[in-house]
Every structure is written in C-alpha cells, then in structure tokens.
C-alpha cells in the first residue's frame, strides 16, 4: 500500500504543476493589460509612464516564466493576491465562503449515494417489469431536468404555495434542505443509472452463473459477488460526481442566495475579478484532485487481486 501511495504522489506532482501553469497562464494570456483595466475600473486618471511604473512594480515586465515562478512561490505561501472588489486578501474571502460550499457538496454526495443505491439496485434486480421501467424512466426524467429549474420548482412548492420556508432563507440549518435536495436528486439519478448498468453487466458474467449454480442465496451473491465487482467503478464515479456537485453548488447558491464559494465566484465573473477567479479555479481543482486521489486509494484497497502477491507464480504448472 505504501509504495502505491508514493508512486501515485510521484505522478501527482506533474499534474499539480500543470494545473498551476494552467491557472497562471489563463490570467497572463487574457487580452487587455491587467494594470490598465484595474486603474480604469477604479476611475483613476493615469498617464503612460504611470502605467509603466506600476507594471514595473508589479513585476509585469519580467519574462513570463520568471513571473510564473514568483507567482508559484507566492501561491505556495497561500498569498493569492487581493480581491479587486473587496480589497481583502483572497485567502480571507475563501475562509469566509468555503465552509458552506464544502458542507453543501459533501451532504449532497452522501445523500445521492444512498439514493442512487436505491435507484440502481431496484432498477437492476426487480422482478416486476413495470417497476423496473418506472424507475428507469423516472431517473432519466430527473437527470434531464436542469438543476436550477428543479430548485425553482421546489421553491414554488415549499416557499410560495406551502409557505414552509421563506424565499430569502432564514440562516437556520433547514436552509440547506432544499439546496441539498436539488443537488442530490440529479446526481443520484445519474449514479443510479450507472449502478444499474454495472450490476446488469456483472450479472452476465460466468462467475455469477457459477454462484447461482452453487446454490448460494441471492443476498449473498449480491452482497459479496456483485458488490465486490461493481464497487471500484462506482467509487471512481463518486469522486467525479463530487466535482460535478462542486460545480452545481454555484447554481444552487445563486438561487437560494447562500454565501458560498460559488456565489463569490459568480460575483467575480461579473466584476472581472481575476485574482478570485484564478484562486477559485485552483482551489476547486485541488479539492477535486484530492477526492480523485482518495478514490484511487480506495480502489487500490478494494482490488487486492490486481496487486502482485509475492510468490504468486504457482500458476504455470
């Protein structure tokens, strides 16, 4: 296990470096000179040489690669520059907005895993054709609804007609119920369909035929034989879904106006606040990368038969 982790870390370094380059060059290569745009937005009258002085001060005139190295060093010290809109350091902005997005994403992931297991197993194993078709159609319907429209529907039902909650939210925990529901219904349907397909694929394998012929009970076949084979692809899919949920939180935070990272990023798009956008991209990339890494570790642990055991060559007779 340990050298697997070390080996994965080794391959992780170039990817992380590549991600940081992507983040940096996206800003550096955007049309329009950042200094000029900043000054113009702040309404400051400026002269050509004032700009030159400022560029010099920000080190924008140095060769691009040198600027990248400086930027990288500052990044590693968690100094990601100032937000143009609020003037506060980007790190501060993140600290205030981060907790909400992370709780939203993790809660939705947990809820959708449970829901998807329900969808997937019933759709795959049910004897009655009607129920199977119903779950199949219902999940395709759920997947096809845009999450923002689902949110508006839920708001319409619970806020407007039933008046259980107020439209603007009340700062209490149950503010999160509808957003989590919105996020997890869609992804639960997708994951449910994947689970159904994987279960049916595994059930067409020869070793399931042997398990049936052995006379094992259906629950044992499902719990041990089928689960053991379908878990790895599901775990990988959970990590990918976590990324999609992080993205989905942007929409949900906007509709339910929850002060999360997503809302901050959306604000940054309107204000062309590049520092926030760059930090947001890199930060979300890191979280997504870590979740994929955890999924890989879990899969490595789940598939002992891939690992070469010492003295395993009893095979060739």
């Amino acid at each position: 296990m340990r050298n697997f982790i070390l080996q994965r870390m080794a391959t992780a370094i170039p990817t992380l470096l590549g991600m940081s380059m992507l983040g940096f060059f996206m800003v550096a290569l955007t049309p329009g000179d950042p200094v000029e745009m900043e000054l113009r937005r702040l309404g400051v009258i400026f002269t050509a040489d004032q700009i030159a002085a400022l560029r010099q001060e920000y080190g924008l005139d140095q060769p691009i690669f040198k600027r990248y190295i400086d930027w990288l060093i500052r990044l590693l010290h968690l100094d990601m520059g100032q937000s143009i809109a609020s003037g506060r350091s980007v790190l501060e902005e993140f600290k205030t907005h981060l907790p909400l997005t992370i709780t939203l994403a993790t809660l939705s992931l947990a809820f959708s895993i449970v829901l998807s297991a329900l969808f997937g197993i019933t759709a795959a194993l049910t004897r009655s054709q009607a129920l199977g078709n119903f779950v199949q159609f219902f999940s395709i319907f759920l997947v096809s609804i845009p999450s923002f429209w689902l949110a508006l529907l839920l708001l319409f039902i619970f806020a407007l007609s039933l008046q259980w909650i107020s439209l603007l939210g009340s700062g209490a925990w149950y503010d999160l119920v509808l957003p989590v529901l919105t996020l997890s219904l869609g992804s639960a349907a997708t994951m449910g369909r994947l689970m159904r397909d994987r279960i049916l694929a595994v059930m067409s394998e020869d070793y399931i035929r042997l398990a049936i012929v052995k006379g094992l009970s259906p629950t044992l076949i499902l719990r041990r034989h089928i689960m053991k084979s379908i878990l790895p692809p599901l775990v990988t899919n959970w990590a990918v879904t976590f990324g999609a949920l992080l993205g989905g939180s942007v929409i949900v935070e906007n509709i339910f106006n929850l002060p999360g990272l997503g809302q901050m990023a959306l604000q940054a798009v309107f204000e062309r606040d590049f520092a926030i956008l760059q930090a947001y991209l890199l930060f979300m990339g890191l979280i997504f990368f870590v979740s994929n890494f955890i999924a890989d570790l879990l899969n490595y642990w789940l598939t002992p038969h891939f690992r070469e055991q010492s003295g395993s060559q009893g095979g060739t007779e």
Binding site: D206, G215, Q309, G315
Partner: protein, 259 residues
Amino acid sequence: MVDTPLFKLNHLTICQQGKDQNPIIDDVSFSLNQGQRLGLIGRSGCGKSVTSHAIMDILRPPLVRKQGQAILQGQDLFTLSAAEKRRIRGQGMFCIFQSPGSALHPALTIKQQMIEIATVIEQDQTTIINAVEYAFDRMQLPIRCLTQYPHHLSGGMKQRVLMAMALLLKPTLLIADEPTTGLDVLTEQDVLKAMEIMLEETQSACLFISHDIRIVKRVCNDLLVMKDGKIVDRCTRDELTYRERAETTREIIDAMKVA
C-alpha cells in the same frame, strides 16, 4: 432397472424469442439413473451447452423454453418456486462449465469461493475448512492455491478447483459441460483423473458434454449424439464400433481415427 430414473428430461424444446419455427433444442428427452454416466456428444453449435443451461434453468433471453419437464427425484424442476430451485441447486444439481478462465470470481480468493459453500451444505467454519483441504488434497491441488486469486492459477488448476467444489457439494446430478476443452493433452488427463476420483466419491449421476468423443468414450458408458438440437443416436460405449450408427456418429468416429 424398472424403478423410476434419478433424473428424467421430457420433450425439452428451446427457441429464440420470436423465432418459433426452427427451435435450438427440438423435443429432447433422456434419463439418468443413480451413478450412471451419460455422454452427450455433438459438433460445436449443435445445442449441447444450451441443454445444460436449460436443465439448470439459467437460460438467458433471447432463449426461452417452449416446453419440457426436468424431473429430479420426482420433482419437476421447471415448476418449482425460486426458493425451492435454490435449494435444489448445489446439492441436488451442480454444473461445471467449460470456461476455465472466467468461471471463478476474479476478485475473491479461492478460499473465499470454497468456504462460501458452507452456507449451502450447512457446515460450520472448522468442518468446512477441513473438508476443503481434504478436497484439494484429493484433487492434487497445492494448498497454497487457497490464498491465491484465480488469475494466478492455470486452466487445469481452475477446473480442478471446480471439481473440488463438486466434491464438497456431493450433488445427486453433476453436469460437466466440456470441462477439458482448451486444455492441453496432459492437463486434460489430470482433470479427467480428478473427475474420476470425484465421481467415485460423490456417487453422483453425471451428464458429460463434449465434442471430443475420445474423452467421452473414456468417462461414460452410455452416449447420446446430438445434431442441430435433436438427439440423432443413442448407444453404449461398445456399440460405438458397429457400422449402422447414425450418419453423424460415424462422422465423429472417423474424426477420432485421424491419428
């Protein structure tokens, strides 16, 4: 032997969904007595394996059973409920399939796949482990295989693991569907020797399916020859040399003599 046979298959007919006119298995009937070994021979694609799947009742769409009964010790298997069928499988009927490569679960150790038989034959952990080791010893399988995964084992060893499972289950009827196809000549002998030992010990009736008459002649005393889903010839091992066998049988006998 006037008493009722151990296993009786009546008028089994299997067709593809929607194509009822040319059935895959057309009105096949035969019976097996206690401890009898019946060979089922035929060229590839004549429906031998479909018959074994039908008897075990694990046919997959698009194949569907049109008619037929499979009476094992007086019970028609096709009319049983799912739970009853499950009780019959394993100790009543067991099947060893041809695909040595994919028959065992790739992600479970051989030990796990052997021990889980305890749930079928109701034995506690300690007795099952001894039984497994005894079976492995009888099948000349090294004990260290237990901790390995199927892909570490050769084709011949995997088939002998299936034989060991049969030894534990002691089924009244064992169906061996081309157990030695794809194995080289010497491994084939090991697997057949292991099978002899297993059949001796379990005293189970055996339906041995193969395209290779040389092996069937060695293992079985009665033979059925199948062509395009129909039984075209029935004879005992010694009658095989008579001239007036069915045309397909003669074709297969000549093929055997190519050496």
